[in-house]
C-alpha cells in the first residue's frame, strides 16, 4: 500500500509538467492578450509593458522562466491583470475562502445525502422513498442561480437570519448559504446514488445470508450493507469535492465571497495567463490528491482492491 502511494506520488511531477506545457501554449493560442484593449497602446508603451512582464522573450524561454521560478522559489509570477498582486497572493486570499465553503458544502452533501438515500432504500416504494426521490430530482434540476436568490430572499430579506453576502473572515453566518447553494444539487445526486446502490446491495445473496443469521436489521444495514453501498458515492465524491473546494463562479459572484472561482473567470476574460496557469496547477494538484485519497479509501473498504495494490 505504501509502495503504491509512493508510486502514485512519483507520477504527479511529470504529469504536472505536461499539464503546464500544454496549458501554457494553449492559452497563447487564444486571440488577444492581457494588454489588448479597445484603444490599442502605443507601440513603444506596449513594448515596455511586454518587457516588464518578460513577454518579449520567445515562448519557450518564457515557459522555462515560469517553471524555474516555481521550482526554485515557489513563485507563480505576477498577475497580468491585477496590478501589484502576484498569483501567490491571489491564491492565498481566494483559496481559503472556497476551501471553507466548499468543505462545508461537501459535509452538507454527505451528511444529508447519504442518510436520505439509505432511508429511501429501506422504505423502497413507500411514502418516504417517493418523497425523497421526488425531492432529489427536484433539487437536482433546480439551478443554483434560482436557489441562491431564493435563499437570500428567505434567510436575509424575510427572516433576517443570515447576511446576504460578503465573507467577513469566514464566520459561519457567511458560510451557510454559499455552502447550501453550491451543494444542494450534489446532495440530491448523492442521495439518489446511495439509494440505488443500497437497493442493489440489499438484494444481494450475501445480505440474504446475513438475514438468515437472524441478525437485527440495524446490524445488517450498518455492518453488512453500508460499506459496499457507499462505493459508488465515494467514486462520485472525489472529483465533486475538488470542484467544490475550488469554488464556483456563481457563488463567488452572487455572495461576493471573493473566492478563486471568480478569479478563474476574470483571469480567462482578461487573458491573465499567470493566474490561469496557477489556478490550473492548483486544480490539478487537488485532483491528484483527491483521486489518490478515493483510491486508498476504496482499498480500505474493498479487500479485493487492497490485494491488487499490494
Amino acid at each position: 500500500m505504501l509502495n503504491y502511494t509512493l508510486r502514485r506520488l512519483l507520477m504527479v511531477l511529470p504529469t504536472l509538467l505536461i499539464l503546464v506545457i500544454f496549458a501554457f501554449y494553449l492559452m497563447r493560442l487564444a486571440p488577444g492578450g492581457p494588454f489588448t484593449s479597445e484603444r490599442p497602446l502605443p507601440p513603444a508603451v506596449m513594448a515596455n509593458v511586454l518587457e516588464r512582464y518578460g513577454m518579449d522573450e520567445p515562448l519557450h524561454v518564457q515557459l522555462w522562466t515560469y517553471v524555474r521560478n516555481i521550482v526554485c522559489c515557489f513563485d507563480f509570477g505576477p498577475s497580468f491583470s491585477q496590478k501589484d498582486r502576484t498569483v501567490n497572493d491571489v491564491i492565498a486570499q481566494g483559496f481559503p475562502v472556497t476551501l471553507t465553503y466548499g468543505f462545508w458544502s461537501a459535509v452538507f452533501v454527505l451528511v444529508l445525502g447519504i442518510p436520505l438515500g439509505i432511508i429511501a432504500a429501506l422504505r423502497h416504494n413507500g411514502f418516504w422513498d417517493y418523497t425523497m426521490t421526488g425531492l432529489a430530482i427536484f433539487s437536482q434540476i433546480f439551478p443554483n442561480f434560482v436557489l441562491a436568490p431564493l435563499l437570500v430572499l428567505l434567510f436575509t430579506l424575510s427572516w433576517g437570519l443570515l447576511p446576504g453576502g460578503g465573507w467577513n473572515g469566514g464566520q459561519w453566518q457567511y458560510v451557510v448559504m454559499p455552502a447550501i447553494a453550491l451543494g444542494t444539487s450534489y446532495m440530491a445526486s448523492v442521495a439518489r446514488l446511495t439509494r440505488g446502490s443500497m437497493l442493489e446491495v440489499l438484494n444481494s445473496p450475501y445480505i440474504r445470508t446475513a438475514r438468515a443469521k437472524g441478525l437485527p436489521e440495524r446490524t445488517i444495514i450498518l455492518r453488512h450493507a453500508l460499506k459496499p453501498a457507499l462505493l459508488p458515492t465515494l467514486t462520485y465524491m472525489g472529483p465533486v469535492f475538488v470542484y467544490m473546494i475550488t469554488g464556483s463562479v456563481f457563488v463567488d459572484v452572487f455572495f461576493s465571497t471573493g473566492g478563486i472561482g471568480q478569479d478563474f473567470i476574470n483571469g480567462a476574460y482578461s487573458r491573465d495567463y499567470s493566474v490561469l496557469l496557477g489556478l490550473a496547477i492548483l486544480y490539478a494538484v487537488l485532483t491528484f490528491a483527491l483521486t489518490l485519497m478515493v483510491d486508498l479509501l476504496y482499498a480500505w473498504i474493498d479487500p479485493k482492491v487492497r490485494a491488487g495494490l499490494a
Partner: protein, 315 residues
C-alpha cells in the same frame, strides 16, 4: 420437529400470479435426513426460503410451517430472528456470492454466536476455530483474518457450512449445497454434511436436483414437480421401486456406472407453466403412461404418490 402443512407459495409478477409451491406437506423429525428432489422451477428452494422467512417481497404464502409447535409463517420478525441460525441453519447454493466480500471470515462467523449466544469476541473466535476444524478448513487459525475471495469454491462452501453450524442448530436446510462445485469437491462436501449429521445429531433437509447425491445421504425422499409432491418414499424403496412415472423418468436420466452402454433417457417436454393453479396432474403432458383422466383430475397424495396410474398398477 418441523412440520410443513399445506404450504402454498405464490408470486405476484408482472404477468400474473406464479404458483411456485402447491399444497406441500411433510415432516422432519429429530436427526432425520430428508431430501427434496426436483428439477429447476419445481419450487424446492422456495420451500427452504419460506421456512427461513426469507421469501421475496412479492410472495404470498398459505398453510403452516410448524417449528416445535410455533407457526413460523405467523411469527414476528423478532421471533423469526430467534429461530434463524440458532435453531434452523441454512446453506445456500452459491458460496461465491453468499459470503460478504467486504468482511473477514472471522467476523462473518463470530457475529452469529455473539448475537445469539451473547459470546465475547474471544469465545466466539474459539468457537469459529472449532467449527472451521469440524468442516476441515486447514490452518484455520491463520485463515480467520482472510476474506472470501482468498478461498477456493470448495473452501468457501465449507465456510458457509461452518456458518450454519456456529450455533449448533437442530435443523439445517441445505439448498443445493454442491451444485456450484466441481464433482470431486461435491463428494467431499456431501461426506462433510454426513459427518456433521453424525457428530452433532442435526437434522438435514437436502434440496437437490441430483438423485445421485441423495442416495447415500437421506432416509427419505420427496419428489417435487410443478410445485407439488409427486412421490414421497423411503430412499431405498424409491430407487428400487419408483411408484410415480416422473420418479421413474428421473431415475432413468441418471447415468448407470455398471452399464455404460445404457443410454440415458430424457423426459420429453419441458416443465409446466405455473401461471395457473394446476387443475390436473402437472406431469400429465409429459407422462408416457398418461390416460385421459390424467389431464383433468388432480391426483391426491396417497400411499406416498400423487398419481392416478402408479407404476406398480401398470402392466
Amino acid at each position: 420437529m418441523l412440520s410443513v402443512r399445506n404450504l402454498h407459495i405464490r408470486f405476484r409478477t408482472g404477468d400474473g400470479m406464479v404458483h411456485a409451491v402447491n399444497d406441500v406437506s411433510f415432516d422432519v423429525g429429530a436427526s432425520q435426513h430428508i431430501a427434496l428432489v426436483g428439477e429447476s422451477g419445481s419450487g424446492k428452494s422456495q420451500i427452504a426460503l419460506a421456512i427461513m422467512g426469507l421469501l421475496a417481497k412479492n410472495a404470498e404464502v398459505d398453510g403452516e410451517i410448524l417449528w416445535n409447535g410455533q407457526d413460523l409463517l405467523a411469527a414476528s420478525q423478532r421471533d423469526m430472528n430467534r429461530v434463524r441460525a440458532r435453531e434452523i441453519g441454512i446453506i445456500f447454493q452459491d458460496p461465491m456470492s453468499s459470503l460478504n466480500p467486504y468482511m473477514t471470515i472471522e467476523r462473518q462467523l463470530t457475529e452469529i454466536v455473539e448475537h445469539h449466544q451473547g459470546m465475547s469476541r474471544r469465545d466466539a473466535r474459539a468457537r469459529a476455530l472449532e467449527v472451521m476444524d469440524a468442516v476441515r478448513i486447514p490452518d484455520a487459525k491463520a485463515r480467520l483474518r482472510a476474506y472470501p475471495h482468498e478461498f477456493s469454491g470448495g473452501m468457501r462452501q465449507r465456510i458457509v457450512i461452518a456458518m450454519a453450524l456456529m450455533c449448533r442448530p437442530e435443523l439445517i436446510l441445505a439448498d443445493e449445497p454442491t451444485t456450484a462445485l466441481d464433482v470431486t469437491v461435491q463428494a467431499q462436501i456431501m461426506q462433510l454434511l454426513a459427518d456433521v449429521q453424525q457428530d452433532f445429531g442435526t437434522s438435514v433437509v437436502l434440496i437437490t436436483h441430483d438423485l445421485g447425491v441423495v442416495a447415500g445421504f437421506c432416509e427419505e425422499v420427496l419428489v417435487l414437480y410443478g410445485g407439488r409432491i409427486m412421490e414421497e418414499a423411503v430412499t431405498t424403496k424409491l430407487f428400487d421401486k419408483p411408484a410415480h412415472p416422473y420418479t421413474r423418468g428421473l431415475l432413468r436420466a441418471v447415468p448407470n456406472i455398471e452399464d455404460p452402454s445404457d443410454a440415458l433417457t430424457a423426459i420429453p417436454g419441458s416443465p409446466p407453466s405455473q401461471h395457473r393453479f394446476p387443475q390436473a396432474c402437472p406431469f400429465a403432458p409429459r407422462c408416457v403412461d398418461a390416460v385421459d383422466t390424467c389431464h383433468d383430475t388432480l391426483p391426491a397424495l396417497q400411499k406416498g404418490r400423487a398419481c392416478l396410474r402408479p407404476v406398480e398398477e401398470l402392466t
